[in-house]
């Protein structure tokens, strides 16, 4: 008997990595995808946990976010980006890495642009955040690539960071 909520793939990095990719997603038959990550990045400061679909590196992404940095709450947005956002991620040791969860709903439909909602909890890194991202393509999602830092200067995810992708199937 198949479960409604199943793991698709997982990886724990054995070394710093510039990207993590989940592929062949269009061969699955779920309704939604859920990414769960515990990760931190290299570099001189906090950045963003970013994503791309289907290898699309064009400026087809945008996001609106809200976040707190310990002293104030703020909201901003970014348009026409080359990647979407999941959460604000710190550069601390992976033993104190933040946790992130993103929901990608109706990823196999070919009629709507794709909206991703997500939360980041990175107290050690100094941030709590929530994002809504848009990928302005109606294509079914076949791959999910995670990138780190900023589109103006990518960093790497630290060795020991963990990324797990789940599928949820609606009846």
């Amino acid at each position: 008997m198949s479960a409604t909520y199943e793991p698709i793939a997982t990886t724990t990095l054995g070394s710093d990595q510039t990207s993590v990719t989940f592929s062949s997603l269009n061969t699955t038959n779920f309704t939604d995808l859920v990414l769960v990550a515990k990760a931190s990045i290299t570099g001189g400061g906090a950045g963003s946990l970013l994503f791309r679909f289907n290898g699309d590196t064009a400026s087809n992404y945008s996001y609106t976010r809200i976040y707190g940095d310990g002293s104030s709450a703020a909201s901003d947005r970014a348009s026409n980006q080359t990647a979407g956002g999941i959460g604000i991620i710190g550069n601390q040791a992976v033993s104190s890495a933040g946790t992130f969860i993103a929901s990608i709903q109706n990823y196999l439909n070919s009629t709507t642009n794709k909206t991703v909602i997500s939360r980041g909890s990175d107290s050690s890194g100094g941030y709590v955040s929530a994002f809504v991202s848009l990928w302005r393509q109606t294509s079914t999602i076949s791959s999910l690539e995670l990138r780190f830092g900023s589109t103006g200067g990518f960093e790497s995810a630290r060795s020991g960071s963990t990324f797990t992708l789940y599928g949820i199937k609606a009846e």
Partner: protein, 188 residues
């Protein structure tokens, strides 16, 4: 060495999993749209519920369109909500007390790109309790490449009655085609 990695996949042969997370019902809006989406006769043998949806506001709705949420067809002033949200300019908060609905997270509507839908994930913990008022929490929003809103909602249904039905209505008009609402039950 710095490089990239392709995550592994679980191969065939993994032992079957009997999940405590089950699909209860799914509503996918057809070409005629739907002025109301309801889940009725919800089984009482789960511990918690989760509603996952993508939707747009109907004709006549604002670009930043709200949804109304009620339980058990109760339309009296027994609902409240608090929201923390960001529309790209500043973090804001609002509160609604003694309402006839819970104002759920905003979604795209109005004159926004018709292919852009909002998404919401809502949890109702201990929905079948007959001794506790019901609290919902939701994360959701929409982005329109230069517009949008992300919000966290906490809602109250001040009734100790077990929840047996959930009803959502758009700000105006009907939820359009391709809106989808999926209800799941979580067992303890």
């Amino acid at each position: 060495m710095i490089g990239n990695i392709v995550a592994g996949t679980f191969s065939a042969g993994v032992a079957p999993v009997f999940s405590s997370y089950e699909s209860i019902a799914t509503v996918t809006v057809g070409s005629g749209g739907s002025s109301t989406v309801s889940f009725t006769s919800i089984p009482s043998d789960y511990k918690h519920l989760q509603l996952r949806l993508i939707a747009r506001g109907g004709s006549g709705s604002s670009n930043d369109s709200y949804m109304n949420l009620t339980f058990n067809s109760v339309g009296s002033s027994v609902y409240a909500a608090h929201q923390l949200f960001g529309s790209g300019g500043s973090a804001q908060a609002n509160a609604f007390a003694s309402q006839t609905v819970i104002y759920l997270n905003r979604i795209a509507g109005g004159s926004t790109n018709s292919s852009t839908f909002g998404a919401v994930v809502m949890d109702i913990l201990d929905y079948a309790s007959t001794t506790k008022n019901k609290t919902i929490r939701a994360l959701g929003g929409w982005d329109g490449n230069g517009s949008g809103r992300i919000s966290l909602t906490s809602g109250l249904y001040a009734q100790t009655t077990a929840i047996s039905s959930i009803t959502l209505t758009p700000e105006a008009g009907s939820f359009p085609q391709y809106s989808q609402f999926a209800l799941y039950g979580i067992k303890d």
